[in-house]
């Protein structure tokens, strides 16, 4: 990155074109011509460099203005350094580098469980990493610092370039250098036309090629006093326009992303078939919102019920299709409509969209007392853990009706931990496993506990994990026989789906299973804005990559007394010597061909004498 070259405002490739080759330098180059080319090129190109900072300090130097001004100078110099291309490049590389840990370390925004796992695996390293926001890289202050600096640098650069481009759009192409033919690919020939006629002919040729033109005014003179017959032509302003659109759209996109995160919200909710939810804060299992969202009135007032969930699979068990049939009302007094939500096909209600992001199984449990009365019943969603939907179930029943025991009046609560297998088969090595994701032969391997779950003590618990510290494992009676630690229930067989032998003569039946779906509600009011910015980015990029900016100059001068041209006989009938040359900042090859074609056309237009003087390169 650190480049020990002198500060310069002229990019290398332009300088290489504008300066004469060494062999010509020894022959005495037309310095005035090259000077004329130099500054114009700078004007066309981006002026991102330290050179401007140097000029500023010369103008606002401490000697003339005192210490207060000197501070301003320092600030302005800092500003110019920030907006220089080298800084921008450094920040770009830093941005790329800073994003790397976000993909290698688990991120809270993506998978908080993995972060917890990382903390368990690396107890000493993880807190240190956490202190530098390594588990929230993309929300980290240092990540924000990099992209904000980058965008400030970009805006600083853009403001100047928009001004220059506006000036270029209303202005005229820069005047022709003294000897355009000295530029790479330049040519010289002579014609019997007078210089004004030759320039007019060149003007017509360039006009036809849709160049923007500036013909030297009649009577204009060159610095040495001779009359100025020249035409300057420029084309490809769209390149810079596209470039500016691209960069401005980038800024607008960042603004849109920022506003979207302030005004957007998202919630995740698990819905068992037959159940539903309303779009309110309390309905969601997980909810996050932007700073400027009003949680009371800011959410679209819809409610939704999942009527049916259909999943189909390939014979191999690979999923083929998921769809949730839902009934929803988009407001309190709105009629109920039925819709289908599929993967890739969310349901849009107002500014919110509802996505189907997951599904699984929820067996139905009934806890009965010794008399057969229902103590508790409900569906318990199980967490899928493989592609065949082998799922982990955790059932916690706090209110069992059993009397507390012991001097501390410990509650006697029940808990069951199980593995649900939708298509159950007995594998010799691994026990009961699932061989297909559909619920063809639902089975449940169950173990039970009694004791204190600590669920009513004000400390939030994960409903999917069981803390058995103060619990005692039960011996269960059931399909596998009596007094066993684990039982296997077949949910479709009424005779094989009940465990007994629970404390107090209670029994637990798993009498069915329903599918659940996980929905995500997401609202981002600035999504459209970001999309428009993205389209502008592509368009601007394509234009700026495809269009080339180039300048062509034609200069004519009377042949007599110029001393140019070694073959005197070839000039006998010539009245005027015409030079053509041009510059393109990009695509050297394509421009060389274009310049040759223009020169050919121009020669044909001035053709009165077939004897042509060839390129002045050959004269050297």
């Amino acid at each position: 990155m650190s480049q020990p070259t002198a500060p310069t405002t002229v990019p290398d490739d332009v300088r290489a074109q504008a300066s004469p080759p060494p062999s010509q330098a020894s022959g005495g180059p037309d310095a005035a011509a090259l000077d004329a080319v130099g500054p114009d090129v700078r004007g066309a190109g981006p002026v991102r460099g330290l050179g401007s900072a140097r000029r500023v300090s010369a103008r606002w130097g401490p000697g003339r203005w005192g210490p207060a001004r000197w501070v301003i100078v320092r600030i302005r110099r800092l500003w110019h350094q920030l907006t220089s291309m080298r800084t921008a490049l450094l920040l770009l590389f830093l941005l790329a580098l800073a994003a790397v840990p976000g993909s290698l370390l688990p991120q809270r925004s993506l998978n908080p469980l993995k972060v917890e796992q990382y903390f368990r695996d690396h107890p000493s390293l993880a807190p240190a990493l956490d202190r530098v926001s390594a588990f929230n890289v993309f929300g980290a202050p240092w990540f924000a610092a990099i992209y904000l600096l980058l965008f400030i640098s970009l805006i600083g650069c853009l403001s100047a370039r928009v001004r220059w481009h506006a000036r270029a759009l209303v202005g005229r192409p820069p005047r022709a250098p003294a000897r355009p033919s000295r530029l790479t690919g330049g040519q010289t020939w002579d014609t019997a036309l007078t210089p004004p006629e030759a320039i007019e002919a060149a003007r017509v040729v360039l006009r036809r090629r849709r160049f923007r033109l500036a013909v030297a005014a009649e009577g204009a003179t060159r610095p040495d006093g001779s009359p100025d017959f020249s035409v300057a032509a420029e084309k490809g302003y769209l390149r810079e326009t596209g470039n500016l659109i691209f960069h401005i759209a980038l800024v607008l996109m960042l603004v849109g992303v920022g506003l979207g995160s302030w005004f957007g919200y998202q919630g995740t909710v698990l819905v068992i078939t037959g159940d539903g939810f309303a779009n309110t804060l309390v309905s969601y299992d997980q909810f996050s919102r932007g700073r400027l969202v009003d949680p009371a009135g800011g959410l679209a007032p819809f409610s939704l019920t999942m009527e049916k969930f259909t999943a189909s699979y390939q014979p191999t068990g690979q999923p083929a299709d998921f769809r949730a049939t839902v009934a929803y009302a988009s407001g309190l007094r709105e009629p109920t409509r039925v819709a289908e939500i599929r993967v890739n096909h969310p349901l849009a209600i107002g500014s919110a969209k509802i996505y189907l992001i997951g599904h699984g199984y929820a067996p139905h449990f009934v806890l009965r007392d010794a008399a057969g009365g229902v103590v508790w019943e409900g569906y318990q969603p199980c967490t899928p853990r493989d592609a065949m939907f082998t799922s982990t179930c955790t059932l916690k029943i706090g209110d069992t009706g059993l009397a507390p025991t012991g001097p501390t009046r410990e509650p006697r609560q029940l808990a069951f931990s199980g593995v649900f297998t939708p298509t159950t088969e007995l594998d010799r090595a691994r026990g009961y496993v699932s061989t297909y994701p559909a619920a063809n032969a639902p089975g449940l391997t169950l173990t039970g506990y009694v004791g204190n779950l600590h669920i009513n003590e004000g400390i939030p618990q994960n409903v999917y994990s069981l803390d058995t510290r103060d619990m005692r494992q039960l011996r269960l009676n059931g399909p596998l026989g009596d007094d066993r630690a684990a039982q296997v229930l077949a949910l479709n067989n009424p005779k094989q789906r009940t465990v007994t032998g629970l404390p107090g003569g209670m029994s637990l039946e798993a009498d069915g299973v329903r599918e659940f779906a996980t929905f995500q509600t997401k609202s981002d009011p600035f999504k459209g804005w970001v999309l428009v910015a993205a389209i502008a980015i592509i368009c601007g990029l394509l234009v700026s990559m495809r269009v080339r900016r180039r300048r062509v100059w034609v200069r004519a001068r009377p042949a007599a007394g110029t001393g140019v041209g070694t073959g005197a006989d070839a000039h006998a009938a010539a009245a005027t010597i015409v030079e053509i040359g041009g510059l393109s900042r990009s695509d050297i090859d394509g421009f060389a061909a274009e310049l040759r074609a223009i020169a050919l056309d121009a020669r044909a237009a001035m053709e009165t004498d077939p004897r042509l003087v060839d390129s002045n390169k050959q004269e050297l």
Partner: protein, 393 residues
């Protein structure tokens, strides 16, 4: 819809044939490239620089640029070659070249191809060696047909676009690379044949990897992929990756040639003697365009791929919005796409504005390709995320 197993088997057979034919073609190109130099008709030995002073370098350059306009349709390589034969090692002869033709201005592919054309009407080498090269081109075309057959059969077998998993994606990337090469061959009347070995080597390697490690049987798409965005987003990613791959090839060639030119300059200036390695590899090195041309080709190829990549990323964001409810979530695949994009953006800025050329630009280009590699392989196979569709266990 059930999988058509007959077509699936046909696709696999075609793939096997493709690999064999491509490998033969690669050997053919390699043979032509390696042995071609012994038939050079321009008497100057490969590493016997005539140049003794800077002024003669200038003379050589002028000779080169003078000659070029006279040879209609001659590629840059012609200028470069005459320059080198006459002893000019500064690569300056190239500036006088650039016979893109007027058509090249409107057609970047043709301009690119013309710029890459190594040699003009007389590819050096005895007739036998040239025939090997021609046979290699024929084999490439044959292999291309077989690969098109393989991809098409697979698409029909599964009733969907044939880029639904990593194996199919890899096959498509190589197909894009070979197609690009064949188009360039056609546009330049086989003047870019020198590139053959450099294209076919990674293609064969890649295809072999895809056919063995990444291979999965024909199957329907997982629901998450079942969207028309698969056609748009993945197709754009395939094309951009294929073109970026080409840019990595030209970058590596640039680095080789640049080193060679520096060594040659050192020899010419009397600072070093010509080593045995230089004598041995000289012919191969001199068949390549100058480092400056390779540098410019890389710039153009990346300039071509970058907007496509941008489009692929944005299309992916639109799809993610429809599928997952957010357009950007810093999933590992998204993160590495972003890193790739930023690095190539830095390359374009460095080249276009800061005027970085040569080794520094080449380093950024290779850095960008490494990020693309991570994005594609490591993210799919090692880092788990939402894009884990490889289907590889």
């Amino acid at each position: 819809m059930p999988v058509n197993s007959g077509l699936a088997a046909l696709s696999d057979h075609f793939l096997g044939a493709t690999m064999v034919v491509y490998a033969l073609a690669m050997l053919g190109y390699a043979a032509e490239f390696a042995f071609g130099r012994f038939g050079r008709t321009s008497g100057a030995p490969a590493v016997e620089p005539v140049m003794s002073s800077p002024s003669s370098a200038g003379a050589a350059r002028l000779t080169a640029s003078e000659r070029v306009p006279a040879m209609a349709g001659a590629g840059l390589g012609a200028a470069e070659r005459s320059g080198e034969v006459d002893g000019g090692v500064d690569g300056g002869g190239v500036d006088g070249g650039g016979q893109g033709g007027p058509g090249a201005m409107t057609d970047p592919a043709a301009a690119l191809a013309a710029a890459m054309a190594g040699d003009s009407e007389h590819p050096p080498g005895p007739a036998g060696v040239r025939w090997i090269g021609r046979i290699a081109v024929a084999l490439t075309a044959l292999g291309w047909l077989a690969q098109v057959g393989s991809v098409t059969a697979r698409g029909f077998a599964a009733h969907r676009v044939p880029w639904g998993n990593m194996y199919e994606f890899s096959s498509m990337i190589t197909l894009v690379a070979v197609s690009t090469y064949l188009v360039m061959l056609a546009r330049t009347r086989a003047r870019v044949r020198w590139l053959g070995v450099f294209v076919m080597f990674p293609v064969v390697l890649y295809l072999g990897f895809a056919g063995t490690v990444l291979y999965v049987a024909v199957g329907p798409l997982v629901p998450a992929l079942n969207s028309y965005w698969l056609k748009i987003h993945v197709a754009a990613a395939i094309v951009a990756s294929g073109v970026f791959m080409l840019s990595a090839v030209t970058t590596v060639l640039y680095l080789l040639k640049d080193r060679w030119e520096n060594q040659l300059a050192a020899v010419a200036a009397g600072r070093a003697g010509a080593s045995a390695a230089m004598r041995k590899r000289g012919g191969i090195m001199m068949r390549l365009p100058t480092a400056a041309v390779l540098d410019r080709i890389t710039y153009r190829v990346i300039g071509l791929a970058f907007p496509i990549w941008t489009f692929a990323v944005i299309a992916g964001a639109i799809w993610a919005e429809a599928a997952w409810g957010r357009y950007w979530g810093w999933d590992p695949k998204e993160t590495w796409s972003f890193i790739t994009w930023v690095i190539y953006a830095a390359y374009l800025h460095a080249r276009a504005t800061a005027g970085w050329k040569g080794n520094r630009a080449a380093a950024i280009s290779l850095l960008g390709f490494s990020a693309l590699f991570v994005d594609y392989y490591l993210v799919n196979l090692v880092i788990s995320g939402l894009h884990s569709y490889a289907g590889v266990n």
